[in-house]
């Protein structure tokens, strides 16, 4: 590779945020190593700074023409929008990670900060890369960091959850890789664009292998996306991890993986969309139904959110399943609806976990029934939690409603109406479990004044995060145009 081509590779555009995050990760790691233990918070603030810079960088380059560098990285619409989203989400998560660190009841390891950064870097790589090798490295960077993050607190549940995540995640990676190896074998290429050009021939020559590798990759990614029946690690890992980490798994990790799934499956199997994507539809349906049914009887809040994230993964899979019928003319619809729902879902998730972290730290809330211990003056907290739950449920005035509506419209437009109908039908079932905590919070006879709860330091950062998430949830629910308008100018691929 000549210097000339390097100079014209627009590396700043394609991997600016990625490199900023990676560099700050390394820096923070080093600083953390050298720093005396009493500077607990410094690494986190530094990480925050790094993320902020990366975010600003990403925003600045948002409206640029898509670029393609080193045959590996792109800055197309999906990449840049998801980069912004992931950075924003990480920022929010780290913000309330700060409060977790401060809480004295929780002897928190400091490693969290740079692990978050590494994981974020992995996620960024997943959304910007168009080469199987890079994608795999990004995926593993994210996964390995996540395994550690989950197990980081070294509590028993955390270790168990981390281990299950690791084993199943490892299997998932291997499945994905095994599938990818066949693709490579048939094409001799690892670059998605190149393979996409060959995919028609590929399907004509080796349909069996294509289906095999598609299923392998789908199941491998399914583990990461916690699709039914590869979702079993999810509740355990979410329960073991600290709230911010669980939020990370549910939002950042999921967003990056969904973006990657969309891109990889679409590009690799472009020539056989009609034949392979029905499997995705089936998986989406299964996940939606089973995820929602699973959540019906959950009593623990953490597990409820975990299982609900399984169900939501099913919803998010719908646009990908729609690729079966989509033509290049309607791809923007798929991208739009997926990304819009990702944004809405991630924000709501982070908000919910932020609320949960306050609840857990102050009132040791574990089960839904414990919510009745909330003193009545905490009406903003209750309202915020209710708002997030309603957002999950897809109630009007929250972003969840618009997101689901858009999914439905996409399903209708792309002649897979049954998926949309199923989505709404199971959403109705989901009302039951999303509203159960709300009911407990607002039952009038249960209001008692039991003071301030556990004495913990003020959780300003978490509260900021909650406020921000509420704002975005409502804003997108009332005026989704601000996001959709932006999307309409995006060149997704």
């Amino acid at each position: 590779m000549s210097l000339y081509s390097l100079l014209h590779a627009h590396l700043g555009l394609t991997m600016g945020p990625l490199s900023i995050v990676a560099i700050s990760a390394v820096l923070v790691m080093l600083i953390e190593l050298l720093l005396p233990t009493r500077f607990l918070q410094l690494p986190v603030w530094l990480s925050l700074l790094g993320l902020l810079v990366a975010l600003v960088d990403a925003f600045i380059h948002l409206s640029q023409v898509p670029q393609y560098s080193l045959h590996t990285l792109v800055s197309d619409g999906l990449a840049s929008i998801l980069t912004c989203l992931i950075l924003l989400l990480s920022l929010l998560l780290l913000l309330f990670h700060v409060d977790e660190l401060k809480s004295q009841t929780n002897q928190f390891p400091r490693e969290g900060a740079y692990l978050f950064l590494f994981a974020t870097a992995g996620a960024l790589a997943m959304v910007t890369a168009v080469d199987l090798v890079t994608l795999y490295v990004g995926l593993e960077l994210l996964s390995v960091s996540s395994y550690i993050l989950v197990a980081m607190t070294r509590k028993r549940l955390a270790l168990e959850g981390g281990m299950k995540y690791l084993v199943l995640g490892g299997v998932g990676s291997a499945l994905f890789l095994y599938g990818a190896s066949f693709i490579y074998g048939m094409t001799g290429q690892t670059n998605l664009y190149t393979i996409a050009r060959m995919s028609h021939q590929l399907w004509l020559l080796n349909p069996a292998i294509v289906v095999l590798s598609f299923l392998l990759m789908l199941c491998g990614l399914g583990v990461k996306l916690s699709l039914v029946p590869f979702h079993y690690w999810t509740p355990d890992a979410y329960e073991g991890a600290s709230a911010s980490v669980a939020g990370f798994l549910a939002s950042v990790s999921k967003s990056a993986t969904f973006a990657m799934t969309l891109r990889v499956l679409l590009y690799l199997f472009l020539g056989s969309t009609h034949d392979v994507f029905p499997y995705v539809a089936a998986m989406a349906a299964l996940t939606m139904v089973a995820g929602n049914l699973l959540a019906l009887g959950q009593n623990k809040l953490r597990r409820l959110l975990a299982v609900s994230s399984v169900a939501q993964a099913g919803y998010l899979l719908i646009p990908i399943a729609l690729l079966a019928q989509a033509t290049p003319n309607t791809w923007p619809l798929v991208y739009n609806s997926l990304v819009f729902y990702l944004v809405s879902y991630s924000i709501v998730t982070i908000g919910a976990f932020a609320v949960l972290s306050i609840l857990e730290q102050r009132y040791e809330v574990q089960e839904i029934a414990d919510l009745s211990r909330l003193p009545r003056q905490y009406r903003w907290l209750r309202a915020a939690f209710a708002c997030f739950l309603l957002g999950f449920a897809g109630m009007p005035l929250t972003s969840g409603f618009m997101g689901k509506l858009y999914l439905l419209i996409a399903a209708l437009r792309l002649h897979e109406l049954w998926l949309g109908v199923l989505l709404f039908a199971v959403s109705v079932i989901s009302f039951y479990y999303y509203l159960k905590p709300i009911r407990t919070m607002y039952q009038k006879q249960l209001f008692t004044d039991n003071g301030e709860g556990q004495a913990v330091s003020r959780q300003t950062a978490t509260q900021t995060v909650i406020a921000f998430c509420v704002l975005v949830t409502l804003l997108l629910g009332v005026w989704p145009g601000i996001l959709l308008q932006a999307f309409s100018h995006v060149q997704w691929y």
Binding site: T330, P332, N336
Partner: protein, 510 residues
Amino acid sequence: MAFLLLALITPLVASLLVWLLPASSPSNNVQGLKQPHRSHEDHFIWIGRVAMSISFLCMFVLWIKMRLLSDVYQFAFSFRWFQFSLGFHQHWTLRIAYGLDGLSLPLFSLAVLLGWIIFFAVRPPGEQIRVYTGWMLLALFAVMSSFAAIDLLTFILSMELTLLAGFFLILRQGKEQHWDAALQFLLYRGLASVFIILALLGLAAAASRGGLWPASYAVLSAVLFHHSVPHIVFLALFIGVLLEEAFVPLHSWFPNAMQDAGAGVAVLLAGILTKTGLYALIRFGVGMMPQDANDYRLLIATVGIINLLYAAFAAWSAKDWRRLISFSSISHMGLALFAVATLRQTGMLGALFLLVSSGLVSALFLLTSEGMFKRLHSLEFSRLGGLSKSMPIASGFLLFAALGSLGLPLTSSFVGEFQSIFSGFAVLPGFAFVALLGLLLSAIYSLNAIRKTTFGPVLDSTLMQLADLRWLESWPLAVLSLFLLLLGILPNPFAQVALSAFHHLRALGG
């Protein structure tokens, strides 16, 4: 336009105001002590009263300014909201758009009137006033907005909003077991809105031209009038309507919710919320898919008649007022559904009259019985009897409501009933003959209940000592009765306005 906007926006603004005002700190009410009569949250209910009064006044202006015999949407205004992209250069532009025509104005007015009455007639326990007022105003805004909407998404969003507000109202205002009732409400109506949303999206898709989907009612009905829509769309709408309107056999949520709801919430439920379904059927089914409605005429009529009879029988054996009221409402809606099935102008008028008068009658029933409930703490027939002795005014109103419910002439219900049956004889004579039975059954159950409540010997001495309704309690009832009578005696202004919405049915031979 200004008046419609004002009428719509006032409850919304008031609701936001209620939420944003600080909740007064709870007074030192130790549990077990009686609530003081005046509560520290009283000012909240006054917000509601003022807001609904403004809407109420605006409603009169709207009636005065309504132009007759014009089937375009009047007072219309819209804001561009956002657009869903549907692919390259294909999108669905949505607006927040409001306007009224002959079909929506009466129902809109019903919502405003009942909302106004609710705030003056019902006062929840002191601790709940703020929450109650906030949600009630929101619910009223939502239901008014769903009647006044002339853009699909505006309608869908408003409909969903009623769901949310209704859920919280039932949850927080119920007497007992409210979680079950609230949940049932949510699940049934949630499912209903799923079907309706599906149907509406189907409509938009069917009317799409060159990748652009229309969303405004006017465009939709203009385009769809000459094009057929897949039957599935109509069926989805119909099932949605059945759920929304609590039609047998999908009605279980309604009596349950009514059983436990506070009076204001019950009025909202029986008086307004269960009217949105038929509105949707007339607006979208008859207005935009007349051909499909015609094809499914027999189905609609059958369901209507079954409801009419089933609910009447169920009301006959009801053991308390709330159940009776809910089933009588279902029964009336069954007749209205049958009237819709006739697809004639007269039938539509009848359905509209029935909708409005059923709302008024239910509200009158509920508020009067609430007056009794406050004194007796029970509405079971076995605990009542001979109330005419001690509460003549309340008994009078109850009797009047019963007469309205059985469709006595000079009340608006009669107008609706005879129009429905008249129109039925023209196209579905067999069904119309069965519908006549409804006249008898409604008399049986209404008068049965009256006999058990206000007539007959006084059960025990406690019933003798009850105080009658005070002036403050009875004037809202008088207003309701007045409207019921007014529409029954002088129905023409109302009918002329309503007729203007059904020009298109002439093309079908209606």
